[in-house]
Symmetry: C2
Subunit: 237 residues, 2 copies
């Protein structure tokens, strides 16, 4: 697989001269993302069970397998910087599990919208904050956040379903708003717990981090991208 | 991945001189096994959600991914002999889904025992009948039925749990007996529906198939192997 020969193989060690706060932020970001990939695997595999056809089931299973490969890449990166992956993931388990328990899709379309809208915001967020980190972490995060055809599949399925029955658009739009609300609520919980990531975001990590103006712009970009995804789905944000 | 360069790549086409009944038996066997691998993926991914630790969760997810790779190999084989994979799987969907609905594990250990005991019997069965088919089908089936470390993982977990609390052995033994009963019931349903496979087994396919004495010996071997697996788990069959 091409993923295993990505830029992270060149020199896996994190720069030892890194500031400890920066290092902690890297471990937090990788820990969160690693567990996010493992839960994405589980969730897409469960969504596959809701698929309306064998080929749709296989397509979802294939997306789940891609997430698992990303999980293994990230876990390998944590190990290569002498960090226990399980310990790095642990702080994020409760919040991520709570999010998924509260937003378990009941239908095939709900699962697709959740994967597209929820993962879309998460992906944008991880990509934004990884830009404040060392180049190797940034490159790995960019690699694992590549889409690999999933978005296109979701758009085709959801638009097709709305074209066949326009009434479902309203229900799916409500569902997407609930997802965003639950995600924000869990993100606040994580932010309150994890000083490493928060310090990075509010710019108190020397040599890294955003200032307040940059942070406001970042949330503006996340919101715009979310609205664009909703429009692509044919849903009002 | 080494699986994709297996013996099936040499010449993927099924011998066109094959008797139509033999061909139908091959398609049936591959269709059943392909869907079995897809459901194995789903089931192991669901079992991962019951895992008591992050590393156990990752291990189960890894086994699920292996099953998905086997699914893709088998699907590729069906396509290479000009057979629509979905159509080949379809006859087995109802019986396999019914089996899994009736035997959904409630605990981590039930999931492990189901994977070991249930898949063990299924694997032996597929391997036995593939021996009656053309060499390429036989070689592919042998490849995808390789264990890849799953059995060892299950044995370690289940034996460890029984050592810690011997009372659970009785409950798990009952569970294993229920699995075998449900599996036999669904197998009878498939046998009644699918003349291709049944003809192969009762020896009415020219140039292939078992005679009655061989069939009796085969069921003897399946039973012996099942009892051996139960003993390895520390359970009475």
């Amino acid at each position: 697989m091409s993923e295993s020969s990505g830029p992270t193989d060149v020199d896996p060690a994190l720069d030892p001269a890194l500031d400890p706060a920066h290092r902690q932020a890297v471990v937090d970001l990788l820990g969160a993302l690693t567990y996010a990939e493992l839960t994405a695997f589980s969730r897409l595999a469960a969504d596959a069970d809701l698929a309306p056809s064998l080929s749709a089931k296989a397509a979802l299973a294939r997306f789940a397998v891609t997430e698992f490969r990303h999980f293994e890449l990230l876990r390998g990166r944590l190990e290569s910087i002498d960090t226990d992956p399980d310990a790095a993931m642990e702080p994020f388990v409760a919040a991520f599990d709570a999010f998924h328990e509260r937003t378990a899709p009941q239908t095939w379309l709900e699962g697709l919208v959740k994967a597209y809208v929820g993962d879309g915001i998460a992906r944008d967020f991880y990509r934004e904050i990884s830009a404040f980190l060392d180049p190797r972490t940034h490159a790995l995060v960019t690699t694992v956040l590549q889409d690999e055809g999933h978005a296109e599949f979701v758009l085709r399925e959801v638009r097709g379903a709305i074209a066949a029955d326009p009434r479902i658009a309203g229900r799916l739009a409500l569902w997407a708003r609930r997802l965003v609300g639950e995600a924000l609520s869990q993100a606040q919980r994580v932010a309150a717990d994890r000083d490493g990531l928060t310090a990075l975001l509010v710019g108190s990590v020397p040599g890294a981090g955003a200032d307040l103006a940059e942070l406001v712009r970042m949330f503006g970009r996340l919101t715009e991208a979310h609205i664009r995804r909703m429009q692509l789905l044919g849903l009002s944000a």
